[in-house]
């Protein structure tokens, strides 16, 4: 696996409807699950599957991405035999920035050529899951597929936006449609593709030369009849986190112990940047139930059905319910918070009552004081 497969996390034109949460950061670095960032799931899954070379195709607002992934140390990607490569757009012309991923892949083709790996796994950052790529590569080779796309069969309508896929009994993909299409299918694409590096480079060069700009929408969709594209059904948990509603719903699902255990531990642990926060302190008089709490918090008030990131302070008499409070948020004394999402460093002053509704949580931007 280590010598055979390289990873690409493609952040170019990711569907992003996270509003204020992505005002200053890429979708990939949206905080999720009390201490993680969205990209941690793809990165950790790759590393746990034995992939030791990972390229992140950064696109816009990638300052927080550089800060978060650093040298890749937290994922063990910074040693002699491994590497994390953050590749921002390489272009002189600002207009070229808006071009599709094929253009950017082409700009960085040297990177692909230099790597000796035979296969490429391409993923996005907003598919929250814990997945082993080893099995997918095996099935890819076994079925002699040209491209394997990882999909999820849903037993109920899902939040978030994803392409729909139709496939035959044997897994052969016959149709893929963008999320707004009318095709009737309970299978959605997880935007994870496995193919030979040779094929990827061929798709990049011929499609781009033929006036096409996007890997999936153009290069793959227009070749569904020529290439053997197979679907691989992922059995584990999946959160498609690219809308506020989906963000809230999938965050709250982490409060189910079976989801917590599965998503964070199986098949491998999810890693993130370490912060050296002390253990969380619960003081006399605090009340807490059904919540997810990261380290470094100080709880003096009441917390129910909520998610607290690192370093959150809930003061005396404050009540936090059904909410998500990101890093270093402070809920001052006697305030109440319901159905809200607070970005990092938000302060809710004392005696304030903030309330959203379940279908549309109240979102507060970074560093706001209310």
């Amino acid at each position: 696996m280590r010598h055979k497969v390289m990873g690409v996390i493609n952040l170019i034109h990711e569907t992003d409807e996270l509003e204020r949460l992505t005002a200053g950061r890429a979708l990939a670095t949206v905080p999720f699950g009390a201490r993680f960032r969205l990209i941690d799931f793809a990165l950790s899954s790759m590393v746990n599957s034995g992939i030791s070379h990972v390229a992140v195709f950064a696109h816009t607002k990638y300052r927080s991405l550089m800060d978060h992934v650093g040298s890749g140390q937290s994922w063990d990607l910074n040693n002699r035999q491994s590497g994390l490569f953050v590749l921002p757009p390489a272009t002189d012309d600002i207009q070229e920035l808006s071009r599709g991923d094929l253009y950017h892949f082409y700009q960085h083709r040297d990177y692909f050529h230099r790597c000796k790996h035979e296969y490429v796994v391409i993923t996005r950052s907003h598919m929250v899951c814990n997945i082993n790529f080893d099995q997918i590569i095996h099935s890819h080779i076994e079925r002699e597929a040209d491209i394997t796309v990882v999909c999820k069969q849903h037993d109920k309508p899902f939040k978030g936006k994803a392409r729909k896929i139709r496939m035959e009994e044997d897994g052969r993909v016959t149709a893929i449609q963008d999320h707004y299409g009318r095709m009737n299918s309970d299978i959605s694409s997880m935007e994870m593709y496995v193919m030979r590096k040779e094929l990827l480079m061929e798709l990049v060069e011929t499609s781009l030369a033929g006036g096409q700009d996007h890997l999936v929408r153009h290069a793959i969709l227009s070749r569904l009849d020529k290439l053997k594209v197979y679907g691989y059904l992922h059995e584990g948990y999946l959160g498609i986190v690219n809308t506020i509603e989906a963000y809230y719903e999938h965050s709250m699902e982490l409060l189910k112990p079976e989801v917590w255990k599965k998503l964070f531990y199986q098949p491998g642990p999810i890693f993130t940047k370490i912060k050296d926060e002390p253990p969380t302190r619960y003081l006399e008089g605090s009340k807490i139930s059904h919540s997810l709490v990261a380290n470094g918090c100080r709880i003096e008030g009441t917390v129910e059905n909520s998610i607290l990131f690192r370093g959150v302070h809930v003061e005396k008499g404050a009540v936090v319910k059904n909410s998500i409070v990101m890093q270093n948020g402070t809920i001052c004394a006697n305030s109440a918070l319901q159905y809200s999402i607070l970005d990092k460093d938000v302060v809710i002053e004392s005696e304030r009552h903030i309330r959203g509704v379940e279908r549309s949580p109240f979102v507060v931007g970074k560093r706001k004081v209310i």
Binding site: L255, P257, W260, F264, P269, I274, S289
Partner: protein, 396 residues
Amino acid sequence: MKEMLWMNLKEMIAMLLAGGEGKRLGVLTRDLAKPAVYFGGKYRIIDFTLSNCAHSGIDTVGVLTQYQPLELNRYLGIGSPWGLDRRDGGMTILPPYVKKKGGDWYKGTANAIYQNMGYIERYNPEYVLIISGDHIYKMNYELMLEHHKKCGADVTIAGIEVDWEEASRFGVMHIDDEERITAFEEKPKSPTSNLASMGVYIFTWSVLQKYLIYDEATKGSDHDFGKNIIPMMMRDNKRLHTYLFKDYWKDVGTIESLWEANMDLLKEQAPLELADPAWRIYSVNPNQPAQYIGDSAQIRSALITEGCMIEGTIEHSILFNGVHVSKDSYIKDSVIMPNVRIGEGSKIYRAIIGEGAVVQDGVVIGSPLGDDITVVAVDQYISNEYVLQEGVVHEA
């Protein structure tokens, strides 16, 4: 000494004594050196001294290990968590070793430094800081060095006022108006001062070097700083100064003091602030998901770390990473070390539960009215019928 032009010379390097067995910690140090014992919900004892070094601008630390070093060595690695993976200096683990003619275990604290004079000479520092990995405190050694230089001292010993009853456990000092030490007694039976040595020394290296060589040649010496080197320097009328430390400092050498120091962290105004962003205590982070607090959980006064899953009641206790506490269980005044499983309906009072122990359903450990601390050793499996039997649960 070869001149090494490519290397920045160090003004002060630290020698950290981490070979202690910690006999009085009983089963907690059966397979573990004392500095590697868990403390404070996330840390190991040695994290405090290493973090002090990091925050005091000390980038060269020799860690002297001897007793049960496997776990400690694994934990320390190349010192990255404390910023000690450096091009010049950084952390070096210094175990006893075999030489051309023989070789020996570390016979005492001074002998341990003596055997590693080569390491110190390599950096040829002006000052050497001697510390041990057994104490819980936050201290800026840079300020102590300034004091040492200001006094023109040959050695500066950090001192703290302790309770009189405790004084006989330490080396105690008498000082004059200028904080110069006028008398030093190691573990006196009836102490005449309560100013105790914290076991933190800054030596002017050229002076220490002579005394180490001299002490090594002295027959019958215990090769110990408190017992031999310091009294010898007193006799020779060297300049011994004290540096008064007024903050929190705790020797966690016994089960009781380890338990107490943990409980200190739970006080409303904790005497040792772990959450100070300017003085983070660094440690190897376990990197586990955020703690999950279930529907039926009740938590009153606690320190809890990532990876925990809490469904029972926690009162005035400290839980390390990855502890699972099942429904209807009750934990009070206890320290639960990493990856412990506590079964349904179990009750734990005033206990220290070792790493990886499994406490089955309905087990009672300790008693609600008891004063003694119950200790469960590492990886013990405590099922209902074995409760309090010898060898499984160790009572203090």
